[in-house]
């Protein structure tokens, strides 16, 4: 991984990476990547992907409305950092 790729990764992960930190991060991440690279050298031809460990397929429910309880609603509002009316309030998204 290059310093540039690291910066981009920082943006995607919403982590600020200072110039002074680049070298130490790169060292750590590159050693992790080396482990992953060693694994990807294995021949996986003919092996089915195991994205899901369980054998379950087509797990679904019927289309029935069951609203959350008032207690759940109140609790969700209570744990939100900020609310206004029944809206959740967040930092401004669009620049004027």
């Amino acid at each position: 991984m290059t310093g540039e790729e690291l910066k981009k990764l920082g943006i995607l992960a919403k982590i600020e990476i200072k110039d002074a930190e680049v070298e130490s991060y790169l060292k750590k991440l590159n050693s992790e990547i080396a482990i992953a690279n060693a694994i990807s050298e294995l021949d996986t031809n003919g092996i089915n992907p195991t994205t899901h460990v369980s054998e379950l397929r087509n797990v679904w429910r019927d289309d029935i409305v069951k609203p959350a309880s008032k207690e759940t609603f109140d609790e969700m509002m209570k744990v939100a950092p900020e609310t206004e009316g029944t809206f959740y309030k967040v930092e401004k998204i669009l620049e004027a």
């Binding site: 981009k8 087509n58 797990v59 019927d62 809206f87 401004k92």
Partner: protein
Amino acid sequence: MTITYETVIGLEVHAQINTKSKVFCECSTEFGAEPNANTCHICTAQPGALPILNKAAVEAVVRTGLALNFTINSVCMFSRKQYFYPDISKNYQITQFEPPLCSKGRLDIISDGKTKNINITRIHLEEDAGKLVHDIGACKLDYSLVDLNRAGIGLMEIVSEPEMNSPEEAYQYLSELKNALEYLGTCECSMEEGRLRCDANVSIRPAGQKEFGTRVEIKNMNSLSGVREAITYEVERQKEILNSGGTLVQETRLWDTEERVTKSMRSKESAADYRYFPEPDLAPFNLSQNFIDDIAKTLPELPQAKKLRFITDLGLSDYDAQVLTASKPVSDFYETALSGTGIQADKVAKPVANWVTTELLGKLNAAGLEIQASPVAPENLGKLVGLVVNGTISGKIAKGVFEEMFTSGKCPEVIIKEKGLVQISDEGAIAELCKQAIESMPKAVEQYKAGKTAAIGAIVGAVMKLSKGQANPQAVNKILADLLK
């Protein structure tokens, strides 16, 4: 020398799936509720909450796919698409990557009077995001408000190939797609309520060039005509830039419905990378052929097939068939009216079509009403046409009855009885009226006898007047001709 450009358009349509509950939780999908009233621990992404898939949403996507000639990928799964934005509280959207539920479909449109086949790349199932409020009325807020009622409503994302070459073709494609979804009942398709949304990828290239030009994505077009107008504007904007020696940038632009222009959308960062990976919280699909076949069995007749049937089986003109199948509510109305006549369909198809396309649609249009809100029920319009066809009332009287039906909503028999409008077909009674008319119009009688047969029209008119329009005109003609021999 001016360069001729070719326009290339691809459309990405998001259609809210018409289910009662959301796709991954049991909250209601009802529109217009109080902010966050339709939310729970799942659609607000409380820690540890797990999604539970709505079977009806899967069926709706498969149903849509089958109707639009797609291949159904019976083995597929959900993926996570990562992005940070307050409208998606998990910080990822549950969607599908490769393969989607449906691959490679198509839809026919009419362009320049010819049928053109538009290929559709894919339909996948995903969840909708919440809504952000940035201003209240004219007042811009210095913060944003989040309403998650929409978050987690099932969406079908329907992505076309870049195969449309004019704003009109894009408009036709979207209209046909909307119509098909309405017939299938898989989406309510109100663009105003945001149940059907459309983004357009627009580029231009010198005619004959193989490579695509720089692509611009347009968002925020919230009506069918808005899509046509926004694309028309964008194509002209791109031509102007290229013709003046400029270069285009690949970007997302918003359609401004007030100023009727597209505006560049400022984005804080360009490093978009969604890092898709398989969604571990939801089991993959392995849909059986039975599951797919059962859905295929319930497919309704689609607009294009219906149009063809109206022409071949009912003998309607191409134009009438087009008008009557252009939206599901109209074709539903027509077919209900047709069976309401109580007469064999092919015998009344044309008169019922006339009444619906001219009288009814004209009057609804003037009153600013949708056909669903028609004061005249389809069964009653059918009865009215039936009464004309079987000779109970004349066409002229029927028009008056129709006016009354439109105002009062009453059924035609009641109006006819109340006003004593039943057509007089009794030959004795008509003959009596004819004699009176002949006596009162010696001049016309003379002309008729001298060989000017058209003069009979005036006498027929007099009979109709004497009968207050209730005499059967065919019978009047016949009896007059006999009397004047």
